[in-house]
Structures are given as structure tokens and as C-alpha cells.
């Protein structure tokens, strides 16, 4: 569960990125977060992952309260939230298998668990035949599926993706969105930041729209739907 209550975020230089955001995303929901560039979407993501602290207000993520979380609890929070980035953030000199296994190894998982879990998530994202490839040998769509596999491998209750299709062509974007929907169907809460109007309309999910640090609309009919 993600719950924002009157969240204000000011950057050091005095930029007000969020001006009192309140919203609630329940367990198992699929939700798009839309808005023009610079409206505060990435700031919301970074508040959820604990990269940033709210200036005021409350951010509640999976039983953690981010406004008063202790530094040593942040790793525990992050194990409940898988993150996917626009630029994939893969490790180029590791194989596909190791890129995913790495995420388990660094939190101290047993090698036997890793050998069981990694093939399972690679199959889930359709990369079971590319385990020994390197990211550089794969298309953008495949790289993003690998990044999703890595986000999933520690079995988080929530996946958040910041413009995951920003670097992909429309067909690949559709594949990625479908994959995220499939993951949501398996019970994971999914929050996707995107610019892709067509996809948002096609998938007809809940849409939260942000502009200049305010929530300007929130509902199933969608932000872009309102414009038409």
C-alpha cells in the first residue's frame, strides 16, 4: 500500500516540486501516474523508494513511514518495492542471469534459492533462452524485460516504474506494459509513470495526473480521457 498525505517536497535550492500531494494506492492495484515533464512524477517515485525525504506530510509505503524512517530500515523498505528505470540500469559486464542473481546475492540470499528463483523470473519475462547473454547484445525491449525481472526477483509486493517505455518503440512499449499488467494479475501492486497517452487509454486503468506538484485528477476514466 502506498499512501501520500499532504506531501510537500522542496529541493535544497528552494524548488517546490510537490505542493501537498494526497493519494492512496491499495495493494493489488495497477495505477498510471501521468503529467507533463517537471510536474513532480519522479519526485513521487523517489519519495516512495526512500531516496528523498518529504519536507512535510506523510508517506506511508508497505508498513514503513518514510517521514520518520531510520537509515538502517531503508534497505528493508526497498526489499518490498521493485524499481524499474527508463534507462534500464543494467550491469553491462554481467550476464542476464547474473544481473538478476546479483539482486538476490546482495541481500544475502542462499545460492540454492537463487538457482530456483532466477530461472522462474526469467521465464516470466520471456528471457529464459537468453540467460548467458550480456545486456549489450539485446534489444531495448529485452533489456527492459531484464530490468523488470531484476525488480521482481526478490518478490516485492510493489513494482514502480519511472517511464519504463521512454526509450522504446510503440510495439515494445506495448509488450512491456502488458508484462507489467500480467505481473499485476499475479498480485503485485504496480505504479507506472508514463507519457504514452495511447497506452494509458488502451489499458484503461486508474490514472493519477500531476501538474506543478498538485494532483489534478484521479480516476478510472483517465486524465487524457478528460481532455477529449
Amino acid at each position: 500500500m502506498i499512501e501520500f498525505t499532504d506531501v510537500v517536497k522542496c529541493y535544497e535550492q528552494g524548488n517546490r516540486a510537490l505542493n501537498g500531494v494526497s493519494m492512496r494506492i491499495d495493494d493489488g492495484e495497477f495505477c498510471f501516474l501521468v503529467g507533463p515533464s517537471g510536474s513532480g512524477k519522479s519526485t513521487i517515485i523517489k519519495l516512495i523508494t526512500g531516496e528523498l525525504k518529504p519536507t512535510s506530510g506523510s508517506v506511508h509505503v508497505n508498513s514503513f513511514f518514510l517521514e520518520r524512517i531510520r537509515k538502517r530500515e531503508i534497505p528493508m523498505l526497498r526489499r518490498t518495492v521493485g524499481v524499474v528505470f527508463q534507462d534500464f540500469r543494467l550491469i553491462p559486464n554481467m550476464t542476464v542471469y547474473d544481473n538478476v542473481a546479483f539482486a538476490m546475492r546482495v541481500i544475502g540470499a542462499r545460492e540454492s534459492e537463487i538457482r530456483e528463483r532466477v530461472p522462474y523470473v526469467l521465464e516470466l519475462v520471456g528471457l529464459e533462452n537468453k540467460a548467458s547473454r550480456h545486456p549489450g547484445e539485446m534489444s531495448g525491449g529485452e533489456q527492459q524485460r531484464l530490468a523488470i525481472a531484476r525488480a521482481l526477483v526478490n518478490n516485492p509486493s510493489t513494482i514502480i516504474a519511472d517511464e519504463p517505455t521512454g526509450n522504446l518503440d510503440p510495439a515494445r512499449s506495448f509488450e512491456i506494459m502488458s508484462l507489467l499488467q500480467e505481473i499485476n494479475n499475479l498480485g503485485t501492486t504496480v505504479l507506472v509513470v508514463t507519457h504514452e497517452k495511447n497506452l494509458v487509454e488502451l489499458f484503461a486503468k486508474r490514472v493519477i495526473a500531476i501538474d506543478e506538484g498538485y494532483v489534478v485528477s484521479d480516476g478510472r476514466e483517465g486524465y487524457y480521457g478528460n481532455e477529449n
Binding site: T49, E51, G82, R89, I91, A103, V106, I107, G108
Partner: protein, 295 residues
Amino acid sequence: MKINNIGYLLKEGVRGIFLHGFMSFAAVCVTVACLIIVGSFSILAYNLDVMVNDLNQTSEILVYIDSDLSDAEARSIGTKINALSNVLQATFISREEALESFVKDHNGDSAFNGVQASDLRHRYEVTLEDNTLMDQTDAQLQQIPGVAKTNAAYELAQGFTTIQQVLHIVSIAMIAVLLVISLLIISNTVKLAMYDRRDEIFIMKMVGATNGFIRLPFIVEGFTLGMIGAVLAFGLEWVAYDALVQKISHVDALKLFTFVPFENLLVPMLIVFGAAGLFVGIVGSWTSIRKFMDV
């Protein structure tokens, strides 16, 4: 921390070295270069110190024995002189020996023709362990019954002592400066290596790795690279020093200089190089990783 985690952390540290071969190579090269420069300077300073010390050892106190004493009594005073803690060696020189060398020194000078052994005194040539304490030892020598007078080479000793003190200060200062410069260069190299891997560290942070888990492989890696650098530098230093000493010992003009064989320096050099490599590796990776951990 579980056993299988320790295995992972060690493996990860060693894997990192190969995965980032070029940066590892650069870090080792820089470490080797810095250690050799610091090491060579230290050895040079040490050799100079030994040489000056040897020269200083030649400055001595002449102890003249009361001429009323018998030969046997004069000789027995040697035990009392040797009993003083700062005395390195006391050599007895009888009247007769003294006359012999006196005649030799003034060969053919008719003015000294009449000098007899009985005109001279028995004496001891006393060398000291620590020439800075020459005046105290001199006073103690004068207290010994049967000693008529002493003649201490204060000025010579003080000259050498001053040279030695200046040498100490200069070499400690130089070694300190070289060490600081080396640490700066090495820590910058490590920072560069870490910069190369900021994505890796960021991903570890984002999947919920604890700081200890992120840091340890880097520390293992830094430790390993530091030790490799130390061993290489030690080996190169040894080979180069031996070759140099060999060369110099064959040049007549340089016969004056005696060098301490590297074998005598083995243990201290090993300790110093090892400690420096360890320190550089661990502190270098610890401090430079901090910057990237703050996510």
C-alpha cells in the same frame, strides 16, 4: 552474518578485480610506483644514517691513567671503564705502545728525540654507544679512581650528532610528504575506479542491500589490490637495490660507501610495505565508496 554470505563477499571482492581489470591494473601500478618511491627514499635515508653513525663511532674519549699506578693496576681499570653503560669499547694502550706511535707520528723530528716511555701515561681509547651523552660519560670516567685526566673529542662528536639529527628530520619530513602525496594519488585512482561502478552501487542500494553488504566486497577488493601492490613493490625494490649495491661495490671511487644488505632490511621493509599496502587498500576503498553510498 551467515557463512554463505562470507563466501559471497570474498568471491565478489575477487570477482570485482577481474571484472574491472583495467582499473584494478591502474590502482596496482599506482600503488607499486608510490611504494617504491617512498621505499627507496627510506632505504637511502637509512643507509646515510648508518654511515654517519659509523663515522661518529670513531670519535672517542682518551682516558689517561695516573702514572703512580703499576701496569697491572692500570690494566685492571679497564673493567671499571667497560662497566659504564654507555661505553662501547675500551682499548688499553700501554706507555710503550703510545711511545711507538708517538715516534712514528713525529718521525725524524729531533726535538722529540729524548722522549722516554716513562714520560708518557698508560691510556684507554674509549668509544661510546651514544655520542650525545659524551659529557656525562666523560664525567663518570673522571670519577674512576686512578684516572688522571680525560680528553674527549666533543666537537667532532657534536658535529656528527648534528648531521645525524638534521638527517633524521629531513628524511622523516620527506617520507611524510611522499606518503601523503602517494595516498592522495592512490585514493584518487580508487575514486576513479569507484566512479566506474556507481551504477552497480546504485542498484545494490535500490534492491535493498545493507551498507555492510555493499561495502565489504569493495574492502576485500581494496585489500587484495593493496597486498598485490605491496608484494610487487617489495620484490622490485629488493631486486633493484641488490643490483645497485652490486654495481656500486665495483666502482673504486665509491668504495667509501658501505650499504646495508637488503637481507638485513627484509623484516622491517616487509612490515612497512605490507602495512602501507593494507592501509592504502582498505582506507582507500572505504573512504571513496562513502560518496556513492549516500542514496
